[in-house]
């Protein structure tokens, strides 16, 4: 039990340190420097062509949500 708690605490610490490293390493990117960031392939959301994939994954799997498919509504789910 103690080992499990320690493991979890270590994981959270690692995640927090990684997040801190991430944000402190952020450099300001000017608008004219965003050609790569603004590339259509760089989008952080789901693309329209993935719409049906996300639907079937939502039906065939128990998990959903967090930026990958909707969390409820609209399916008799056969």
């Amino acid at each position: 039990m103690i080992k499990h708690t320690h493991l979890r605490a270590t994981r959270y610490c690692c995640a927090a340190i990684t997040a801190c490293m991430f944000f402190t390493s952020c450099s300001t990117v000017k608008e004219y420097q965003k050609n790569k960031i603004n590339d259509a392939e760089m989008t952080l959301g789901n693309r329209k062509v993935e719409k049906t994939e996300l639907s079937f994954q939502g039906y065939r799997e128990g998990a959903s949500g967090a930026n990958a498919g909707k969390t409820g509504g609209g399916c008799g789910c056969n």
Binding site: M42, T52, E61, G62, A63, N67, C75
Partner: protein, 395 residues
């Protein structure tokens, strides 16, 4: 059918009213069509663990989905950008297991059913303040299921416009028809009586996401969501067979609380290669925990043509109330033999091709982009599926 026609007519009227505004106002405030997308998909699956027949039996299913959406924009007097969206989706599906609700092959209405799902959205972006507010309405109608959804969102960019925090609340109010398996229909609701009862299922969710541009080549997004479902969360036509051979209906608790946490990153690795990653951890109070990891690597063959291979791994534990065919006993108050809620892992892989030539696809100026994508999906519980999708973008 009447409901479908009314929904389509309302959507058309809304789009027409937007178009009429086009002739008024000066140029900077003119309503213009930003883009129109047509997404078509063909999906097929096969397996041998249908929930309708208690965890055994064919899961053969095909689905043809067509979705059209339109995005319009205009600026108001204060130069805030308004974006209006309209969407209409129609799914036509056939399902072998749905026939077994009545145990008469090819006799149930659901064996070849239609799902129609319109949606409307609006957002207003204040480019000076870096804030965006939005709202949306949606519905979904099929033979035995009606859903209405609404959402509100607020997004705020950081001062240096490198980060953005988004808050969103959503609600889905669903109504399902209680179509019992034929052998469990009693009294006035007998075998040929189609006066079924109905039950409600409501979903409320709140999500918080934060996206950050790390440098010229890397951006990331964190997302956390809390989802509360309540009401009739079983499906009435899902059978459960006890060890003694008796048949019962699926019975699940009337509340479910879910927490999905997600992380995304997009990295422009070289002039031609982009690496996109996604990870999600999910847990709920039914005892289901899952991990999802996805990687996609778009390769730019030319500035306008790219090929994107992808791979997705997913695993989940079973919910507390799952047991296979003839494993449940009368001691289990809650029970299901739905293998979508069992323990399994799945692999999904495939590739997409995207063409966006500056002179239009196949020389057609208004067809600005075409994307084709194929994926093969397998579960380690003998279920597999294939999906092919196409997105055509008009500008």
């Amino acid at each position: 059918m009447k409901r479908i026609l009314l929904t389509a007519a309302s959507l058309l009227a809304m789009i027409t009213s937007f178009a009429q505004q086009d002739s008024t106002g000066y140029k900077s405030r003119k309503l213009k069509v930003e883009e129109i997308n047509l997404v078509s998909s063909y999906y097929r699956q096969d397996g041998n663990n249908a929930a309708v027949t208690g965890g055994i039996g064919s899961q053969k299913l095909t689905d043809i989905a067509n979705v059209i959406d339109i995005k319009l924009t205009r600026y108001d007097k204060k130069l805030r950008k308004h974006t209006f969206g309209g969407e209409l989706g129609i799914d036509t599906y056939t399902s072998a297991s749905s026939d077994k609700v009545d145990l008469k092959a090819n006799s149930s209405a659901s064996s070849g059913d239609l799902r129609i799902y319109p949606a409307l959205s609006w957002s207003m972006e204040n480019e000076t303040k870096g804030s965006t507010i939005g709202a949306g309405l949606s519905s979904s109608t099929e033979y035995d299921y009606q859903s209405f959804g609404a959402n509100l969102s607020y997004a705020q960019k950081t001062k240096n416009k490198m980060g953005e925090i988004t808050l969103r609340v959503q609600a889905y109010l669903d109504q399902l028809t209680l179509i019992n398996p034929v052998e469990l229909r009693t009294g006035s609701n007998g075998e040929d009586d189609e006066n079924y009862g109905s039950a409600s299922r409501n979903t409320f969710s709140g999500s918080l996401s934060y996206s950050q541009i790390v440098n010229k080549k890397l951006q990331v997004l964190f997302s956390a969501e809390a989802v509360q479902q309540q009401g009739y969360l079983s499906l009435p036509f899902h059978r459960v067979y006890y060890q003694d051979g008796t048949v019962h209906q699926e019975n699940l608790p009337d509340t479910r609380f879910k927490i999905p946490l997600g992380f995304r990153a997009s990295f422009f690795a070289s002039d031609k290669i982009i690496i996109k990653g996604y990870y999600r951890y999910y847990t709920d109070d039914w005892g289901l925990h899952s991990n999802t990891a996805n990687i996609e690597v778009p390769i730019k063959l030319t500035p306008f043509i790219s090929v994107s291979p992808f791979y997705r791994y997913y695993n989940q534990t079973a919910i507390k109330y799952f047991a296979p065919y003839k494993q449940h006993t009368a001691q289990n108050i809650y029970h299901t033999s739905n293998y979508d809620l069992s323990e399994f892992s799945s692999n999904f892989f495939g590739a997409g091709v995207r063409l966006a030539p500056p002179k239009g696809v196949f020389g057609k100026k208004h067809v600005s982009m075409i994307e084709l994508r194929y994926g093969h999906y397998t579960k380690n519980i003998q279920m597999n599926a294939d999906i092919v999708s196409m997105n055509l973008k008009f500008k």
